[in-house]
Subunit: 424 residues, 2 copies
């Protein structure tokens, strides 16, 4: 499903020398004996998720599609990145649908919030608020504003049918509101942290609302679980990639640049930045995740990658079968000197751009490249990929000897901000 | 116009010790004696641009607004990043207009191109192709496809009125097409490179088409020219910031992270990545530019910045006066425990998030922060900012002793790609 190519990493390595460490970490993951093991609920989730709730997610999604032409997804961090990455990757750019998804609750920008309020004024709106504690400030602030908008527009009774709450099963500020008002609600499990929550109703409800077949997503997760449930490095490409991240780090690289060649995969990189950066970036450790979208950014960041400071390696995510393709057309004249491409598929051209760039960066630029080829961006493949990256991350972060599942540093700005805001 | 705050850089420095070097570089810039000085046309441009052509840009923009509800801006790198940064920053998100701008010619993605073709099927379309040589592959490929779309839709005669060409004054593949067909055309000056071309018709035509007052942009440029035309470091905050970039680099930082707190400023960072990265990233040198948008990304990259590898410093771009603001509303109950913000403006809340984050990253995270405060995101302020960053970059890159105005590394992938594509 995912083809890993380590032939361009520009470093001598002996994977087998890591086998012992990988075996140990594989056990830590599957037997829940490592740091932060209370948050390993994602490991067996593909086979353990709540099927009754899953069916309710699908029904709620259909109701949203009937009642609204705008769905406000109100969440921040893991409470929107996974859904957004999935919807953009699977549906593709400029997809034609009756339902538009707008992400709110992830900013304090007065300009953004005011403009969105105006934009939805005359639209039919539903809202999915996503927060485990209900007290995440960006999300709670937006929820109050957009809930009032919906209540003013539809009245109390109808508004209750248009608000969907994804939160803790009993604690937090949102659960009492669910109990009091009767909003349809879904559970964020205790054992799955925000950046892994894409596989729970957090990610699945917005995905299903966007018309994605979430049964396929779960099938992909299961397949990845099966394929990657081995400690044998030679059979487990997720672990191979995970090891290689640390190998390259030891050669002095401190930046991992995610590269894609499809604009609709930009948010996969954003989702990965949280998954990797928030999991690893502690105790002064970790690879800084960054991203580009090529060939677009070859005309902005390309020069730096080719000839600038040698601080980074690239992890390229390519797609074998695009969602759409077309042949480059003949013209009346060849004034643009582009006739050499007539009859070629655009996707083939894109693939040559990737191959030419790989060679340029590796051979002349001396920038190590890891290449991951996805078969396609279907719901099934996307589900597979998500679980694949979970395994990559868990292995790599345990190799760094940090707790991959906490994020103590995120609290610091909040503490300072609450003081400035006068929160008690 | 731009307030620079260097009080959080966590390093002892003596700016005056750089005065001599700055004076020398200031002369290199203004007397055109440094590396790549053929490309210093941007320096005096605010007072030397072609007023007749400028007026034609404004008239063409009005015609585009009359004839189309979609303008395809067909260009890559500097041929779209500046316009996009300006339009998003100045107009703000979800702005209400009769004309939608779609950026094409910057990707080979078959999915993106096919979907855009479908999306514009029943819309009234105009196109501005932007390429100095006319042979940039991404742009030439898209121009053939979208030109055919326009010709098929409107016929030969009308299509000529809907295509606007920004290119070299006499060379390249597009100028002969202009001469033959009679497209309205604009000039990309020889002395201004792609990443500085936002101040020429390259950036100005799409901006004006989007309804931006480009007279105001030019006034801002002039004001910045006047304010920053001094070698005295204590009077020139652009040079102060430029020096500080190198000072921080010497402490071991190799990444500059651009930070904003407004989603509509995301493309300023993308534009800066090209301006800085492509200018500096050569001979194994330069700061890797990367970016986040807060507070959104505090919930993904925040942990890494706070506690991860200490490889970066932050350059924060804040805005004093937002485009829109609103007060946080009262509710019927305080179930969300957000009443402490009732009556506060959202922009004020956003400012506290910035201040709390600054303190968290600097004091506890030990991450140096440079802060630039823009008065607002008006056309005038935007013009000022553009020229400000030009001066920052020119100084910093000359301090690195590289040619800030070439990009030899961008050719390498193209050479490889052409071979794979079978181009002679």
């Amino acid at each position: 499903m995912i083809k890993l190519d380590l032939s361009n990493v520009l470093v001598d390595y002996d994977l087998s020398s890591y086998q012992k460490e990988v075996t140990k970490i594989h056990q830590m993951i599957h037997e829940q004996t490592g740091k932060g093991s209370d948050y390993l609920g994602w490991v067996n989730w593909p086979y353990e998720y709540d099927q009754e709730e899953f069916d309710r997610v699908k029904k709620a999604a259909l109701r949203i599609r009937e009642q609204a032409n705008v769905l406000l997804v109100c969440g921040i961090g893991g409470s929107y990145l996974g859904a957004r990455a999935a919807i953009e990757a699977i549906k593709g750019p400029y997809y034609d649908d009756t339902l538009e998804i707008i992400y709110v609750g992830n900013t304090f920008s007065s300009t953004a919030i005011t403009r969105i309020l105006k934009y939805i004024e005359n639209k039919e709106v539903a809202l999915n608020v996503i927060s485990k504690s209900g007290s995440t400030t960006e999300t709670a602030l937006a929820f109050r504003i957009f809930k009032q908008f919906i209540e003013n527009k539809y009245g109390e009774e109808e508004s209750i049918k248009r608000i969907y709450v994804t939160t803790d099963k009993e604690r937090g500020l949102l659960r009492p509101q669910v109990n009091q008002k009767g909003y349809e609600s879904f559970v964020i499990p205790d054992s799955i942290g925000g950046r892994f929550s894409i596989i729970t109703p957090v990610g699945l409800l917005p995905m299903a609302a966007a018309g994605i077949d979430i049964d396929e997503v779960m099938k992909g997760l299961k397949k990845a679980y099966d394929d990657l449930n081995t400690d044998k490095l030679e059979d487990n490409s997720a672990y191979q990639y995970g090891v290689m991240r640390r190998v390259l780090e030891k050669t002095g690289k401190n930046v991992e640049m995610f590269v894609s060649y499809e604009p609709h995969l930009v948010y996969i990189a954003e989702w990965l930045k949280q998954l990797y950066g928030e999991s690893e970036g502690k105790e002064g450790k970790g690879l800084l995740p960054t991203s580009v979208n090529n060939s677009t950014d070859l005309h902005s960041m390309g020069q730096f990658v080719q000839e600038g400071t040698k601080c980074l390696f690239e992890t390229v995510i390519t797609v074998k079968e695009p969602i759409e393709d077309m042949l480059f057309p003949k013209a009346n004249d060849n004034d643009d000197e582009m006739d050499y491409l007539v009859g070629k598929s655009l996707h083939w051209v894109n693939e040559q751009a990737f191959k030419g760039t790989l060679k340029a960066h590796v051979e002349e630029g001396k920038v190590p490249n890891i290449v991951l080829e996805l078969k396609d961006t279907s719901a099934y493949s996307f589900g597979y990929m998500v679980y694949y990256f979970f395994k990559v991350l868990a292995l790599s972060a345990y190799m760094l000897d940090v707790n991959p599942f906490d994020q103590p540093g995120v609290e610091v700005y909040k503490r300072n901000m609450f003081k400035l805001l006068g929160k008690e």
